[in-house]
Subunit: 198 residues, 2 copies
Amino acid sequence: MKGYLWTGGDPGSQSTVAPPDNGRLAPWEAIAVEAVGNVIEFWGFKRNQGRVWGLLYLRGEPLTAGEIERELDLSKGGVSMLLRDLERWGVIQRVRVPQDTVWRYAAETDLVRMVTHVVEEREAAFVTRIRADLSEARRLAEAVGGVPPERLRKLERMATLAEHVERALRLFIKTSRLDVAGVLGAFRDGALGRKGER
Amino acid sequence: MKGYLWTGGDPGSQSTVAPPDNGRLAPWEAIAVEAVGNVIEFWGFKRNQGRVWGLLYLRGEPLTAGEIERELDLSKGGVSMLLRDLERWGVIQRVRVPQDTVWRYAAETDLVRMVTHVVEEREAAFVTRIRADLSEARRLAEAVGGVPPERLRKLERMATLAEHVERALRLFIKTSRLDVAGVLGAFRDGALGRKGER
DNA sequence: CATATAGTTCAAGACCGCGTGAACTGCACC
DNA sequence: GGTGCAGTTCACGCGGTCTTGAACTATATG
């Protein structure tokens, strides 16, 4: 987790194709970055985590924290924390340009995989907990006695419902994984001329 | 939306089977109610909406706003608003006991259907919006010109990815519906000896 | 009509998560 | 050692959401 060397295109070319890092995003970039932010927020992460990843992905070349700070209008501290989260999840990579002292960050293409993974864990743990609660309730209800059987049946039904939802959820994640996998192939080869290996 | 008459079991029986409405939930009830609250919150609704529905469902017989207020330790105003939401969504029903002046509220069994429905709408609208944003970004990028083609391709890939996610999502909702439908049958007949007919 | 109780509405406040910015650490270069 | 910059940490404040509680309306009862 110490970062890698960045051996991308020559530094001179960066100013020829696009506003280099004059501080303000191109409108189309802003829209796309915002879109990623919305998606990521929708899935329960921080909007800015998505914006940072989106920017890095769109640019294709590694950016410094300072550049990110300017482009997305975030604070120094904020960027630091966001980058740390993203790096820990393996969706960005810390790279060092030879004979330059600052770290740069590049987008991995694993964002989708990460999202499905985290969501999977979250939902699974959640549904499991619910089922545990419900059976605990049922146990207690039986223990105290005097609870009319039709109420016990209600508890049981809620539990089986939870089970079914759980199964549907797992199925979703699996198919979604499969469905997305195909796209990911094409997705990946456009990011950096290199592939993730975690 | 004016409510229906409640012609359930005789009023005398209510005090024989369980703590009638002494103000505090039985422990097993509390757990179950809380579980429903958690689920509902998980899906983006208010926790207390779930708790109210859960209580009504578990009790099986219609409760007054005052009873709900005491059992769940909520404020008068809060209960009023929660009930209004739930009623508007068709997951509870307002009933009137003959020759009694207060409204009572009974759980419908459509909670699951409502959740899937709302979630479906929400996600669908969301994903659609994302796709629109992305193609807008692409349009703008092409319009300004000078944007390197590999960046345009990135935008395209993000859009197709969104499409695939959308498809997976729809599939999930459909199968989940189907999967849950079976349970719903059993689920339903235990709530009230009556079916919704809105 | 007066009174009491059920029900609604809404401004004020509690609460919570996120980002900020300042203080701090670490490192390179002079 | 000192200066400057990259990067980290964290107490605080802002903005949002949810709940409360009090004022208000509606409705039944004598």
